[in-house]
Amino acid sequence: MPKPDDLHFFIDPNRCIGCQACVQACTECDTHRGESMIHLEYVDRPQSVQTVPVICMHCEQPTCAEVCPADAIKRTGDGVVQSALQPRCIACGNCVMACPFGVPELYEDRRIMMKCDMCYDRSSVGKKPMCATVCPSQALFFGTREQIDALRPLSAPINSFRFGAQTITTQVFLMVPRALTTRDSYLDVAAAMDEQPQNRGISLKVLPGDPFAEVEV
């Protein structure tokens, strides 16, 4: 049974309070044996306690699967990129290097890559992923577009990201200020890395225009 088409994952990094509840909830799951598939990224640790939850963005162009030499990373028909297939994975770590979001993790002792699969055992039967159910501030939200529009009138979901010359569209949405977005908005992640974020803030470089336009490298 596939994940329902009308349910999406929305990440709102500004709402993350760094409580690690998602990490603990993910760790308790038996499908990946006590390892957490989600982690919190500190934006600017010396200056701020602001964290960003990092889950798999489930790209429409999964770079991890593109670079996999063993053909081990597959995507189900509903667009969920799954963990490496155990009989195929050779634990080479190419996906770990390639993923622009830093999601896949290599477990050397088990010789396998495991990554967030949007709790496929739960989401495929219509339940929310575990991290979204436990997040106290709804920084991780799983629901319909209507729900997120009603809950966050000042934010708009965005799913185009640009890393230098590479443009990626994802199944998971990131909430950005609605005032900055247009129809073709995209997030320039590489540019955000260069900027020093303001205190207690997250710099989201939302740029208007065609995300798929040619860029000069």
Binding site: D5, E60, K74, T144, E146, D149, A150, A179
Partner: protein, 215 residues
């Protein structure tokens, strides 16, 4: 809230108590958020070109599970035809092999020794059916003789008779066979020793056949 810039996708009714969308379980009209791509073909190539313009190897190594599991009717037929052809050729080969072996005829009847050459509890070596297959003839009692090839059924080492222990002993991997029947009793061998069928003619012992056994 009315002053906010509208989402580019058009106005969205945030009220969740409108008829048909009560609570937080409302679903969008199907035409608004309809998937833009076929469910079977959700992956978009990194260069955003349509599937027809992608290199051919992408069809062989698809990222999507439905495509990966999909087997074309032509590929399935090819597999079936080639597999049946392989089975047919195998049957023909087995038939030809059987015919060839039958054409070789039965092994020759050879005189091994006289009964008086072997003491009770002793063994002598001989070769049968040709000079390259060493065998052992063991006298169990005054009237009982058995003969086996000397080849261990594990890895073809030469077995050594040990009548005092009522066994053949393979020194390579500590294998043991029963002296009377040749069945394995210890160690790695699983199959009994190949038996040589004997025939007594007067006081002479003849080897008349080779009996391969699997269990």
């Amino acid at each position: 809230m009315a002053d906010l810039p509208l989402d580019a996708r058009g106005p969205i009714d945030p009220a969740l108590n409108t008829p048909g969308r009560e609570g937080l379980t409302g679903t969008a009209p199907a035409n608004r958020y309809a998937p833009t791509v076929d469910r079977e073909q959700v992956t978009i190539a990194p260069n955003f070109a349509p599937p027809q313009l992608q290199p051919a190897w992408r069809q062989d190594f698809p990222i999507d599970w439905p495509q990966d599991l999909y087997v074309e009717r032509r590929d399935f037929m090819k597999f079936m035809v080639l597999t049946s052809a392989a089975f047919t050729l195998g049957q023909l080969w087995i038939g030809a092999h059987n015919w060839y072996r039958r054409r070789q005829g039965r092994p020759p009847i050879l005189r091994i020794a006289s009964m008086d050459d072997v003491a009770v509890g002793a063994a002598i070596g001989f070769t049968y059916p040709d000079a390259h297959q060493p065998c052992l003839l063991v006298r169990l009692s005054a009237t009982e003789f058995v003969a086996f090839t000397q080849t261990c059924t594990h890895l073809s080492c030469a077995v050594v008779p040990r009548p005092a222990e009522a066994s053949f002993y393979c020194p390579c991997h500590e294998g043991r066979f029963d002296l009377r029947t040749g069945v394995p009793t210890a160690g790695p061998p699983r199959r009994p020793l190949t038996r040589i069928v004997l025939d007594m003619r007067g006081r002479d012992i003849y080897a008349v056949a080779v009996e391969e056994r699997t269990a």
